[in-house]
Each structure stands twice: as C-alpha cells, then as structure tokens.
Symmetry: C2
Subunit: 197 residues, 2 copies
DNA sequence: GTAGTTTTGGACTCTCAAGTCCAGTCTGGA
DNA sequence: TCCAGACTGGACTTGAGAGTCCAAAACTAC
C-alpha cells in the first residue's frame, strides 16, 4: 500500500476491514478465506494485497484491533460512568442485550479465542482490551466507594477482575450452549457482591 | 476401521488420540495437521485413516470427547464432594494449581473455543461438559444449604452458573494475558458469595 | 502351517487457498 | 491536457494438507 490514500482508496480499505470483520464474526477465522472476503467486499485479489501488503496476517491484525475497539465502544456510554446503581444496571442490561442480539456472531469471542492468540501483536491487542475494560470497571467500583454507596472494605481490584472473568465466561458459555443464563448470572452475582461485604 | 480391534490395534488407536490431543493442546486445532499427528505418534497416513475412516473430522471429535472427560476428571475427587468449606477450598486450589501448571496448553479452552464450535456433534460434547460441571457445583451448593452452612435463601442455581462462568472466563483471560489473577478472583468471589446473602 | 483378517508404510492424487504479477483504468495536480 | 502515481481485475504460480490406494507385514484362529 502506498503511504498516501485517496478518498476512494481509504473507502475501499475500510470496506475490506469491515467486510472481513463481519465474515470472521459469522464464520470464524480459520474458515474465512481471502476469497470470501474478496467476494463479500466486491474487491479483487490485487486490492487486498494492495492495501495489506503482508497479506492475510496483516489484515487479521487490523481486524483484531477493529473488533477490540468495537467491544468497548458498544458498552458506552455506560461503562465509562458507573457512578450510581442505576448506571450499573443500565450497563448490565446493555451487555446482556448486546450479546443476546448478536447470537453466535461475536467480536469478543473471535478476538479472545481465534484472532488473539495467533501472534504476539494480536496478543497485545487482547491484553490491552482486557486491561482497559478492567480498569473501567475498577474505576466504577472506586467511584461507588468514594460516594459511600459501596463499602470501603470491599476489594475493588478483586471485584473488578471477578466481574470481568464472569462476563468472559458467560459469553463463551453462551456461544457453546446458546443460553444467556450464565452471562446474566455472572453479571448479577458480580454486581450484587458490591452490596455485601 | 474394522469392528474388531486387536490389542495392538487398540493401543495404536489410543496413541493417536492422546498424541493428537497433546498436539492440539500445544499448537491449536487449526495449525495441527494430520502430518504433525502422524509424526508425533510414529504412525502412518494409512493408520490414521484406518482407525478414523472419516478422517480429520472424526479424529477431532474423538479428541474433543477425550479432552472433555479430562477437564472433569482433573478436578476430582474434589468436585464430586463439595460438602464442607474445606472441600470447597481444596477444589479451588486444585483448579488454580492445575491451570497455573499447564500454562497455555489447555484442554478446556481448546474444547470450548476451537473444537467445540465446529460441528453439531462437537457442540453436544461441550454442552454436556458445561451441564455436568454445573450440576456438580450446584449439588455442592445444595449440600451446603442442607447442612446449614449456606443460607437457604441463596439462589443456588445462579451461584453455580456465576461460578462456572467465572472459571471459564478466568481461564480464557489467563490464556490471553498470561495472568492467573482473574481466575483466582473469580473463584474466590464465587465461593465467598455463598457466605453472604 | 495356512487362510483370513488386521495392521502398517508410504507414494500418489486432488483440492483449495495464499500470494505474485502485470496490464489496464482512474484521479488529482501542474 | 497530460502524466505520475494510485487503484483495480484477474490470470497464474506455489505450497500445503486432506484423503486414496495398495502391497507387504504381522497377527489370529483353526
């Protein structure tokens, strides 16, 4: 790819990334071929390698970053403002609704389980996603502690980690079994633990 | 494969399954080829198709069942007897030790994320694993309630689901980031919730 | 031991997907 | 207008891996 993109070129590049991401979400990384992406995005082999000269691996990495961004942005504005019980429950519902709606087409799981472990660069993306997500939850717990709604005795770090793990696992069980009950249980139990102590 | 196996044949078949499982645990499903398995198990192409006539897919399915069995058996005898706080903590430590020791070579994640979603038959195996695992945890919670150690007001079903989701997610975060902290947090928070209510 | 079956090795084919190459078209600026 | 560089289409090469085939060795039952 040349260093300068025209508007047309930038548009094509974006179309490839989004089409590839959708294809991968629907059918998985290993079964998605460059030819599938080419067909879906109405492009040619030449274009794919024009915009991603290092080929499949480079495209997958860009898709990984794209999907990681999406996982977090889909939880906004709730995730950034967990400062009241109302906000926590709005967030909880947003997460549940979001994963219920999308069924088995899931950017999070694709990233965590297929894209994320292939190369060191991809691992970095998933690690940053986890880290950012956890720190948003942690900030929410701390703000609740500061405003006195949650006991200062609660281990905020552990609570945030447990909650995040529950979401991950809930989503992954949903993909395996089709049931969203585990995700709901994990979120509800995770939020409820903030009350106790 | 013929319907009758000699002792020698049964031994070869078992060697193939275990070698394939190990190879897949270490390198993932998509990058493991029949030739890798052949080399590792000191067998030939002819043998692979002799014992698994439907080829790769059939072998993967058998490996999936093998790994599912392993996930549960590795947690015994603790998982079957969660009848005291001591037993719960022994189980907690067994799970943590087990996943800490194995690092990124993980039957659970391979099953849940790679093997398990490919075909309907493989999905059945993962669904049964989840279901059995959850019902063991649930039975443990109920027994604690019956003996009065846990409040009868606690929603045992939800607690079991949340705990299982936390383990799943903790393991999957461990594989992505290398840190076991989330798994520990999820287990500790999940067990602690049994005290509260 | 011998007939029949199971087990084994490995060469071979076939398919599919990644990546290469280049000629032709479009676009924006001088 | 014109031309350099960006964009596009698609034929082609290459390599890898799944699956086939068959002959030879080993084993079992009689």
């Amino acid at each position: 790819m040349s260093d300068t993109l025209t508007a047309k070129g930038a548009d094509t590049r974006r179309r490839i990334i989004e089409g590839a991401a959708a294809e991968i979400r629907e059918h998985g990384v290993s079964t998605t071929t460059l030819d599938d992406i080419r067909a879906r995005t109405h492009t040619s082999k030449g274009q794919l390698f024009h915009y991603f000269p290092r080929g499949r691996e480079e495209l997958l990495l860009v898709v990984a970053q794209h999907e990681a961004d999406r996982v977090l942005s889909d939880q906004q504005p709730h995730l950034a403002r967990l400062t009241s019980w109302r906000a926590w429950h709005a967030w909880r519902n947003a997460v549940v609704d979001r994963y219920r709606a999308q069924g088995t087409s899931c950017p999070l799981s694709v990233l965590m389980t297929e894209l994320g472990r292939s190369t060191p660069a991809a691992r970095t993306i998933t690690t940053q996603l986890i880290s950012q997500w956890e720190s948003d939850i942690f900030a929410g717990v701390r703000s609740m502690q500061k405003s006195g709604r949650v006991s200062a005795a609660l281990d905020a770090d552990r609570a945030a980690k447990a909650l995040l793990a529950g979401i991950q696992g809930g989503v992954s069980i949903m993909l395996a079994t089709g049931s969203i009950a585990h995700l709901e249980a994990a979120l509800d139990a995770g939020i409820e633990q903030l009350h106790d102590v």
